[in-house]
């Protein structure tokens, strides 16, 4: 092997090369299954990069970036849509007041993503695809990402028309479509009429939902898994999990049962 290598390398490198080779061989024994980045990784990246560049170029030659009429603050288009990647959040405006849809939910999503590595104490499935070894983590993520995140973007892009009403993609966007506003607050639907009763029932519903977390802890805290997880991690996970499921519950309540708010605190907030 030295013959051809020598032709290109200054001869005094010979000894260095042998040393390096021995060190590498020793390292390889400890860490087998390693291959050179050049050419193997660089080639893979180069091919992927070429395909992406060509694809982007062709797409850009064929599809023009949109440009509409000049900005006109006195002419509101209907519907006014946020950029597509935020349409999931805009969709939440249907079910929640803006402080939840626009501030609390995005904040929880970002914070929730960031804490994942610190609350997931399952050591399995590190570095390979598996569902069986981490069913809870994977199914939670799949639901949150594919259904809530991507799913609601698809809904917002293709199914929301004028007045933020639902339309089929092939349906005419009738700006005069009238949808009866028959939503009622949950306490009202449950028969409460007085101010105090309405308030208390709403508070009990929301409070009860979030009390599930502590209750499960009290009930299961002796389990070895819970012991390992610890109270802090458990609190974070259960709170975020209940927020995510609570969002779904609220959406179902609205779409199926016509519930407007669960808990109204006049002049302060509605949930």
């Amino acid at each position: 092997m030295a013959e051809t290598a020598l032709k290109a390398d200054p001869p005094n490198q010979e000894q260095l090369k042998v040393d390096a080779g021995q060190r590498r061989a020793a390292a390889d024994l400890k860490l087998p299954d390693k291959i050179h980045c050049w050419p193997y990784l660089v080639r893979a990246e180069f091919i992927a990069g070429c395909i992406m560049t060509i694809g982007l170029l062709v797409w850009s030659l064929v599809v023009d970036a949109p440009l509409e009429e000049p900005a006109n603050p006195s002419k509101t288009p209907n519907p006014s849509k946020a950029p597509w990647y935020f349409l999931g959040l805009q969709e939440m405006l249907v079910y929640f007041d803006p402080w939840i849809a626009g501030v609390v939910l995005p904040g929880l999503i970002i914070a929730g993503l960031m804490v994942i590595p610190y609350v997931d104490i399952n050591p399995n499935g590190n570095g390979y695809y598996t569902f069986r070894e981490r069913p809870f983590a994977v199914s939670t993520f799949l639901f949150g990402f594919l259904v809530l995140w991507v799913g609601f973007i698809v809904l917002g892009v293709f199914f929301r028309g004028p007045g933020w009403n639902l339309f089929w993609p092939w349906e005419y966007w009738d700006p005069h479509k009238v949808v009866p506003m028959t939503n009622r607050d949950l306490p009202y639907l449950l028969g409460a009429r007085g101010e105090a009763a309405t308030f208390l029932i709403g508070m009990a519903a929301v409070g009860g939902w979030f009390a599930v977390g502590p209750l499960v802890w009290v009930w299961k805290r002796k389990k070895p898994f819970m012991q390992k997880l610890g109270l802090t991690r458990y609190t974070i996970v259960s709170f975020l999990y209940l927020c995510m499921l609570g969002t779904v519950v609220k959406i179902v309540l609205r779409l199926v049962f016509g519930v407007k708010y669960v808990w109204v605190w006049p002049n302060v907030f509605n949930i």
Partner: protein, 261 residues
Amino acid sequence: MADPQRPQKQGLLEKLFTSDAWRSVFRHGYADTPRNRVLQVSANVWLHLHPSKVRRHGVRYRHTWCAGGLTFLLYLVTVVTGVILMFYYRPTQEYAYLDIKDLDFQVPFGMLMRNMHRWAAHGMVIFIWLHMFRVFMTGSYKPPREFNWVVGVNLLVLTLLLSFTGYLLPWDQLSIWAVTVGTNMARATPLLGHEGPFGPELGVTPRYDVRALLLGGTMVGPPALMRFYVLHCIFIPIAASVLMILHFWRIRKDGGISGPL
């Protein structure tokens, strides 16, 4: 591994690659030896982002989908095309829209640059999601890579903000209304927005709340355009670049691409 003993043609290329001039730029040898393969990466300022060797599965498309790398490529495309657009674009109410029209119809390759900038930005959002999805599915956020996942989430936020601030710059109907919808939510920030819970109680008014801070006023007007322009072209790209440097550094320091132990 290729056989280094295979006979070599002393063609023109061979002469070039072994010439003094060539060797002054690329110090390692040309022959395909293990040593040169290592030097090819470690003696090259761009390629030495890589280790000289990776674990075998790390180069497989089905492990990484190349999604992180392609996110980076798309980011670079937006940087290059974005700088070109900046030669022609002025972020003022009078000129912004007209400059975009000019790019579309007058400037040679202006439309192509604008299209590539826009579609690469959208592609970046899609590929960063794919990348995050892949990293979650391979459990690559687990120790020792927890912190790099956190860096990644920050990159995700910055990427979305980059896209969002850029959306305003054409100053057409699509822009200002999308940004109006987006920033209206800031009105309702608890404590800090004038329509948010406890905002008015704290003396927050439409003119002095977080939304006004972002827009430089109570509506999406010229000051908002200037703010978004500076955020889009200077502040966020610098922040994102710094985090990307950290991200790539940490991949190496955390032991390279994750894999079955």
